[in-house]
């Protein structure tokens, strides 16, 4: 009797274990199917960009060829033309200046704001934190009209310095919000220990909080970088001369003339413009993920 019961239990465990194993296999197969579909969906545009940028104008216009492949050999003429015969280098320089300044302003403002809102408890700090985040929810397509008045009033219309002023309205609220979450996840005892050790608020921020919250700060930096590098609406509205233009709008306006699309140059320009964010993401991806998921689990 006992042996029958024992063997019954054993077969039940074997069935249960086998079923778990089968479930896991199916889960893995489905995961791979969807991951591959996802990868194809997102890698197709960059692939098309690369292929088109490396083709000659004649091959791009050749209707008989399959556009997904290069038949007549690889050429770098679009890259050379872009860098020597167009205003692309000016757009690139302007974008770098705008982005570096925006990121610097954003990080200084949002780190200080987040630190004070999350650690220096004062009346209305919670409400203020929520308020800051709410401003992020207002779309830029609504904001650009009042901002146009402000930028013009300051004499910064058609100046990329106007972008340095305007972009933080997009980046500071979100970065502050990320940093509030990150600073909030740092144990309270750490600042109490620092206070007892004799640290001032600024020393606490610089020597304890910033190093400890580095993943969050990097995540916020990447966000600010991406927004100021890739924004289209504000430069479209506020910049109109070529020497002040940034990459996003400049590339499109100078390389599309009426219904003439210079596909090779456009794709080469898009590739070069996409390179800096790509490099930054590649090197800082781990920090980025750690920053965005901070506080999600007890660590």
């Amino acid at each position: 009797m006992t042996s029958i019961a024992a063997s019954g239990t054993a077969s039940f465990h074997a069935r249960a274990y086998g079923s778990l194993k089968r479930n896991r296999r199916w889960a893995l197969i489905l995961s791979y199917v969807f991951l591959i579909m996802f990868a194809i969906f997102f890698l197709t545009p960059p692939y098309y960009m690369i292929v088109t940028a490396l083709k000659s104008n004649e091959e791009v216009a050749h209707m008989a060829h399959n556009p997904w492949f290069i038949y007549d050999g690889v050429t770098f003429e679009h890259f050379v033309n872009l860098m020597t015969k167009s205003d692309f280098p000016i757009y690139f320089r302007n974008t770098v200046i705008v982005t570096v300044c925006t990121v610097a302003i954003t990080m200084v403002v949002s780190v200080l704001a987040a630190f004070s809102l999350s650690r220096m408890k004062f009346w209305g700090s919670g409400m203020l934190a929520t308020g800051i985040f709410l401003t992020y929810l207002i779309p830029e397509s609504l904001l650009f009209i009042p901002l146009f008045q402000i930028v013009r009033g300051l004499g910064l219309l058609n100046s990329y310095w106007g972008m340095v002023l305007v972009y933080p309205t997009l980046t500071v609220p979100f970065c502050t919000w990320i940093m509030i979450g990150y600073f909030g996840s740092i144990p309270k005892e750490l600042d109490e220990a620092a206070v007892i050790d004799g640290a001032s608020h600024m020393q606490m921020l610089l020597r304890i909080f910033i190093p400890v919250a580095l993943p969050g700060i990097i995540a916020a930096t990447i966000f600010a970088f991406t927004v100021s590098w890739a924004d289209f609406v504000y430069p479209m509205a506020f910049l109109y001369s070529s020497d002040q233009q940034v990459l996003t709008v400049g590339t499109v306006t100078s390389l599309i003339r009426a219904d003439v699309y210079q596909w090779g140059l456009l794709m080469a320009g898009a590739l070069i413009a996409a390179a800096p964010p790509l490099l930054i993401y590649a090197f800082l991806m781990d920090y980025y993920i750690a920053g965005l998921t901070a506080g999600a689990t007890k660590g």
Binding site: E192, A193, A194, V195, I196, D197, G198
Partner: protein, 366 residues
């Protein structure tokens, strides 16, 4: 080093009074432990001494100077936290030297102090590691080291052993005592563990609901508690406390626990209790004063009584036996060789020389 004085200290959070006007004088070099259940105000008191909480009323003085409005960094105190609060991005050396570096102490002196503290705590080989590379016990040592290097007037410990496993807790307890014997700095230590309080303290301060119930040496609290709360809180297992009636019996007094069970009150205590004859009181006796009848004979104030054992817990060097008196669970501590099994009827013995009578209304031990 300095003495610490708390005078009528109050802490209010909105309408809730967490600390209700406590007075405490801690002389220089003394090791004082604040003990009590969760929410009794012990940590709040410690944090007020540290300057991490504002004081709603009263005065706190360190070394004779009132520090109510002095920021923590200027109070010359060091604190060890429950979760260690080590800076995760710094090495052990950097953690220990952080306070000294902020004070712009010469590098050579910082090095000397850190190395000396590391030697006292046995963490010299860990100085280049980061906190995440350390075990719980090592982290706790580093946290203590960070306090020692500052050579502060007062050490404050906020439940520093709560995160350690039982074995390590005992080890670190000894370590803390050894460090205090070495550096002799005035220490205020907060814990909810009364064993920790008893083993470490020169004096124990028992707190309950924001008030100090009793201050005294560990043995004094254990043997002469002044309130029902202290009697029940200090000692593990806790003192047995059961309802009784004090009766006149000829020239002596008896304590009636049930219709069938009475204990003679020792003559030496009769005068003290006589004014309470006829009242409903609480009778208290520690488990070690309830033994097997065969262990000591019936000398002195010992009195035998029958009991039916409900639960028997062998602990090795002693066995805890649980039985009921008038529906209330009572614990005794018997010789393992003489303990019976569950359901067994045994003769136990109460050593009434150690009995306590408590007024249930005021909670005062009579």
């Amino acid at each position: 080093m300095a003495d610490v004085s708390l005078r009528k200290v109050v802490k209010k959070y909105d309408d809730v009074e967490a600390v209700r006007g406590i007075d405490l004088e801690i002389p220089d070099k003394e090791f004082v432990v604040l003990v009590g259940p969760s929410g009794c105000g012990k940590s709040t008191t410690l944090r007020m001494i540290a300057g991490l909480e504002e004081i709603s009323g009263g005065e706190i003085a360190i070394g004779g100077h009132i520090v109510n409005d002095v920021p923590p960094k200027d109070r010359d105190i060091a604190m060890v936290f429950q979760n260690y609060a080590l800076y995760p991005h710094m090495t052990v050396f950097e953690n220990m030297s952080f306070g000294l570096r902020l004070r712009r102490m010469p590098k050579a002196e910082i090095k000397e102090r850190v190395e000396q503290a590391a030697k006292i705590l046995g963490i010299t080989e860990l100085l280049e590691r980061r906190p995440k590379q350390l075990s719980g016990g090592q982290r706790q040592r580093v946290a203590m080291g960070r306090s020692i290097v500052r050579n502060p007037k007062v050490f404050l410990f906020d439940e520093p052993l709560s995160n350690l496993d039982a074995k390590l807790r005992v080890q670190m307890r000894t370590e803390i005592k050894r460090v205090h014997q070495h550096v002799k700095t005035t220490t205020v230590y907060v814990t909810h563990d009364q064993v920790e309080a008893m083993t470490l303290a020169d004096r124990v301060v028992v707190m309950n609901e924001g008030r100090i119930e009793q201050i005294g040496a560990p043995n004094e609290l254990y043997h002469s508690p002044k309130t029902q709360f202290v009697a029940g809180f200090i000692g593990s297992p806790a003192m047995n406390i059961m309802p009784c009636r004090l009766e006149q019996n000829g020239v002596g007094l008896t304590v009636r626990l049930t219709d069938a069970l009475t204990f003679r009150v020792p003559e030496s205590r009769s005068a003290r209790y006589r004014s309470h004859v006829g009242k409903q009181l609480l009778f208290g006796l520690r488990p070690e004063h309830i033994t097997d009848a065969r262990e000591y004979g019936s000398a002195g104030e010992r009195q035998n009584f029958p009991a039916t054992l409900d639960v028997v817990e062998p602990m090795g060097m002693e066995t805890m036996v649980y039985f009921a008196i008038n529906g209330k669970e009572v614990c005794g501590r018997v010789d393992p060789a003489r303990s019976g099994g569950p359901g067994e009827k045994v003769q136990l013995q109460a050593d009434l020389a150690h009995m306590q009578l408590i007024d249930p209304q005021s909670g005062a031990v009579l």
